[in-house]
C-alpha cells in the first residue's frame, strides 16, 4: 500500500507543503469518511493536489467506502430527518403554491388545510362508498365554485358525473384512471375538464387518491 511509504513508525519526516507526509496519510480514513476537522481537510486537500500516489491511496479507500455504503442499510440520522420532513401535511409542501392558486387562498391557509388532511373527522361522506370530501371555502376569485378536497379509497370509484362548468383537479397523492381516453393522472398532475364533459374515475390500487378540486357552475 502506498501508505507504507510514509513509514509506519513515523521514521519518514519528508516535508511537503509544510506537512509531514506521514501525518497527512494517517488522516486519510477520517478524510474519506468526512470525520476530519475542516482545517485538517484543507491540509489533506493541499497535499493531494501535488501527490498522485496519495490520490490513488485515497481513491482506493473511497472505493472501499463506496462498496461498504452499498449494503441495504439506512443512514439513520438522514432517515429520521427525512421522515420528519414528510410527516403529515408536510408531504404536500411542494404542492402548496399550486393548490393556493387553484383555491385562490394564501399559502398558509392551504398549509393549514393540508395539516388536517389525515384527520377522518374533517371529511363528509361523498357520492359513493370510499369517497369522502372536505368542503373548502375558496378565495374571492373562486367564490362561485364548488371547491373541495376529495379523497377516494384505493381502488374505489367516483361515479359518473357531468361537468356543467369547467373543473380543475390537482392530484395531491396517489392517482386515478379516468373512464375516458385520457389515461392516468398522478400526484402533481392537473386535470382540466371542460364544461359539458362527463366521466367517472377510479383511484389506483396502491394508495388512496387525494385531490384538490374546483368545479365551476355553467357560464351564463
Amino acid at each position: 500500500m502506498p501508505r507504507s511509504r510514509f513509514g509506519a513508525k513515523g521514521g519518514d519526516k519528508k516535508v511537503t507543503h509544510g506537512m509531514k507526509e506521514h501525518e497527512v496519510a494517517q488522516h486519510f480514513e477520517e478524510y474519506v469518511l468526512g470525520l476530519l476537522a475542516p482545517e485538517r481537510v484543507a491540509e489533506v486537500d493541499a497535499h493531494l493536489q501535488t501527490c498522485a500516489a496519495c490520490r490513488k491511496d485515497v481513491r482506493e479507500l473511497e472505493q472501499a467506502m463506496m462498496a461498504f455504503s452499498a449494503q441495504p442499510n439506512s443512514v439513520e440520522k438522514v432517515r429520521a430527518r427525512l421522515d420528519a420532513s414528510l410527516s403529515g401535511g408536510a408531504r404536500f409542501d411542494h404542492l402548496i403554491d399550486d393548490a393556493a392558486e387553484l383555491f385562490d387562498l394564501k399559502p398558509d391557509e392551504v398549509r393549514a388545510l393540508f395539516a388536517s388532511i389525515d384527520d377522518p373527522g374533517v371529511y363528509s361522506e361523498g357520492p359513493a362508498d370510499g369517497v369522502k370530501i372536505i368542503p373548502v371555502t375558496p378565495g374571492p376569485r373562486a367564490k362561485d365554485s364548488f371547491s373541495a378536497i376529495v379523497r377516494v379509497d384505493a381502488g374505489a370509484t367516483f361515479p359518473m358525473h357531468e361537468h356543467f362548468g369547467e373543473e380543475r383537479v390537482l392530484v395531491l397523492e396517489g392517482g386515478y384512471r379516468s373512464s375516458g381516453a385520457e389515461g392516468e393522472f398522478w400526484r402533481g398532475d392537473l386535470d382540466v375538464r371542460q364544461a359539458g364533459t362527463s366521466h367517472s374515475f377510479t383511484a389506483l390500487d396502491d394508495l388512496p387518491c387525494i385531490c384538490a378540486s374546483v368545479a365551476w357552475p355553467p357560464k351564463e
Binding site: V32, G34, D45, L48, R55, E62, Q63, A70, V75, R91
Partner: protein, 191 residues
C-alpha cells in the same frame, strides 16, 4: 446499491414514489441512501454537510419523482446526479478555495468513479464484509450508517478512542484490499 433490487422493482418503486407512496421512498432510501452519502462525501469531505445534502436530495427525489424518465437514465444515476449537483453548489458556496478543491475532488469522483461492478457483485461484497472482524464491521457501521463520531462510538461501546480509530482504519484498508478495487477498471453508475 441495487444488488437487493431488481430493475423491475426499481421501476415499480419509482412509479409508486411518483404517486406519493412514502413506503416506496423508504425502500429506495435504504437501497441508495448509503451510496448517495458516499458520493457526496467524496465532494464535501464533511459528514454533517453531506447528511444535509443527502436529505435535500431525497426531498428533491420525493418532489420531482413524477419527472423521472426511466428511458433516459437508471434511477440510481438520476438520484446521484441530483446529489452531485447539490454537493457542487454547496462546495462553491462554502469554500473560498472551491475552484481548486472542486477540480481535485471532481477528478476523484468522476474520472475514478468507484467501481460499481464491485458494489453490484452482492456475493463478493458479502464475502468481503464477512472477512472483517465483527468489531471492525460494527465500528464502520456505527460510523457510516449511524453517523456516530469516533468519540461517540468510543463512549457507546466502552472502547478507547484510539482503538476505535484503529478499527475504522483497519476496516477500510482491509475492505479495500479484499475487494481489490485498485486492480479493477472503472465504470459509470449503472442500475
Amino acid at each position: 446499491m441495487t444488488q437487493n433490487l431488481a430493475a423491475t422493482d426499481v421501476l415499480e418503486l419509482s412509479n409508486r414514489l411518483a404517486r406519493g407512496d412514502r413506503t416506496a421512498l423508504s425502500v429506495l432510501f435504504e437501497a441508495y441512501g448509503g451510496m448517495v452519502l458516499a458520493t457526496v462525501l467524496r465532494l464535501l469531505r464533511n459528514r454533517a454537510e453531506a447528511e444535509e445534502v443527502v436529505q435535500e436530495t431525497f426531498l428533491d427525489v420525493w418532489r420531482r419523482a413524477r419527472h423521472y424518465q426511466p428511458e433516459r437514465a437508471a434511477f440510481s444515476t438520476w438520484v446521484i446526479t441530483i446529489a452531485k449537483t447539490r454537493a457542487i453548489d454547496r462546495l462553491r458556496a462554502n469554500d473560498t478555495r472551491a475552484r481548486t478543491v472542486e477540480s481535485v475532488r471532481l477528478e476523484s469522483s468522476e474520472a475514478h468513479e468507484p467501481d460499481l461492478d464491485v458494489v453490484a457483485d452482492g456475493p463478493k461484497l458479502k464475502a468481503c464484509l464477512a472477512a472483517l472482524s465483527g468489531e471492525q464491521r460494527s465500528t464502520l457501521e456505527l460510523a457510516y450508517f449511524q453517523g456516530l463520531s469516533q468519540s461517540e462510538i468510543a463512549a457507546r461501546t466502552g472502547t478507547p478512542l484510539g482503538t476505535v480509530k484503529t478499527r475504522t482504519r483497519q476496516a477500510l484498508r482491509k475492505l479495500s484490499e479484499l475487494l481489490g478495487v485498485s486492480k479493477l477498471p472503472t465504470h459509470s453508475v449503472s442500475p
